[in-house]
Symmetry: C2
Subunit: 206 residues, 2 copies
């Protein structure tokens, strides 16, 4: 499916038919998510995959009872991963294992560590933004594979962390419900181009 | 181009050949960005488009002199738009203009306003996360159109806001340099599946 078709036909499905998606298709989606753009290649996120047939009453309750939680096939919980030093360390090891010269792996890791140090109190917010790049691949990816998805922010992250037994370093920030929709998209409404894009005033650049 | 090919071949180009991309191609990209997923359809972002031929020395300086700024064709400055009440109002008007019943437009806008009110001090961070969904469409979209891109966070947002004469409500959060790359992608390195994806422990869900 062409990217234009993906982005114009994708929509947030509100109702799913409850049938499970083939596991192999979901695996393909996870690989599309895995390839998401990521600054310094730190990949500061993890996704909890909740398969069909799981008991989800408590998760639904912690998401204001929204029907997608229990009617979807797989539910993905996108979490920001704030253990950034660990990721920089792992990255350095992988660069070395992949044959990079020790100096260049060390330089890259030092650059990443410098970035991390500069984040200060913005660490979680940064990891969350990066997580949204992975989420975006999940949304477009589901459509490219011919199934439907609903991104959801309306849930209690702390309740999800507790229900899923997550460590403090993993902070849930968005859900992605996957399945076969039983509703239909409404016409896509977007603001006008001139409301979303600005031409840089020449004067400002001179 | 298939989405699998897009996400596996896309990379952060570090050098561009300096030639301008056809304006029509860039317009196509802007429309792909415009279609990005967006919570409550609020579209809380704006993108400043800096065309080829603009004087960019000051912008490069405010981005640690990175070569992409001056060697790319178009430079897009992705900004979070924090004027959320204004966007909710505009959305309600567009829903009405599009033929939605007054009550359903009002209900939708009320829901969006409730969400906005609940953001509190998280308003900017939320708008920034949403902006990254648009950025993701820009990254994948550029590849789908056959040109190259480099996402950049290494710049001084306040300096960009000043150079571009932006109002306080628009906060630069990422750059997207577009053009024809003169470098080549290195093999894509990603963490293992089991390092990025977790199966929900059955016990946690019971």
């Amino acid at each position: 499916m062409d990217f234009v078709e993906i982005v114009t036909t994708r929509y947030a499905a509100k109702r799913f038919d409850g049938t499970p998606l083939p596991a192999a298709e979901v695996e393909r989606l996870l690989d599309l998510i895995r390839m998401a753009p990521t600054a310094y290649n730190l990949q500061p996120w993890r996704v909890v995959v909740i398969p069909p047939g799981s008991e989800r009453a408590a998760l639904a309750e912690a998401a204001w009872g929204q029907a997608q939680i229990e009617s979807c096939s797989h539910l993905l919980v996108f979490c920001a991963n704030t253990a950034l030093e660990e990721l920089a360390q792992r990255l350095e090891e992988r660069l070395l294992a992949g044959g990079a010269p020790a100096e260049s792996a060390a330089d890259f890791a030092a650059m990443a560590r410098g970035w991390i140090a500069g984040l200060g109190e913005g660490r979680l917010a940064w990891a969350q933004r990066q997580t949204y790049l992975a989420l975006g691949n999940g949304l477009n990816g589901a459509r490219s594979l011919g199934f439907d998805a609903c991104p959801m922010e309306g849930f209690r992250p702390a309740a999800y962390a507790e229900l899923l037994g997550l460590p403090e370093t993993l902070v849930p920030c968005a859900l992605l419900a996957l399945g076969r929709a039983t509703d239909a998209p409404r016409p896509k409404l977007r603001f006008r181009r001139d409301e979303l894009f600005l031409s840089a005033p020449a004067a400002a650049l001179a």
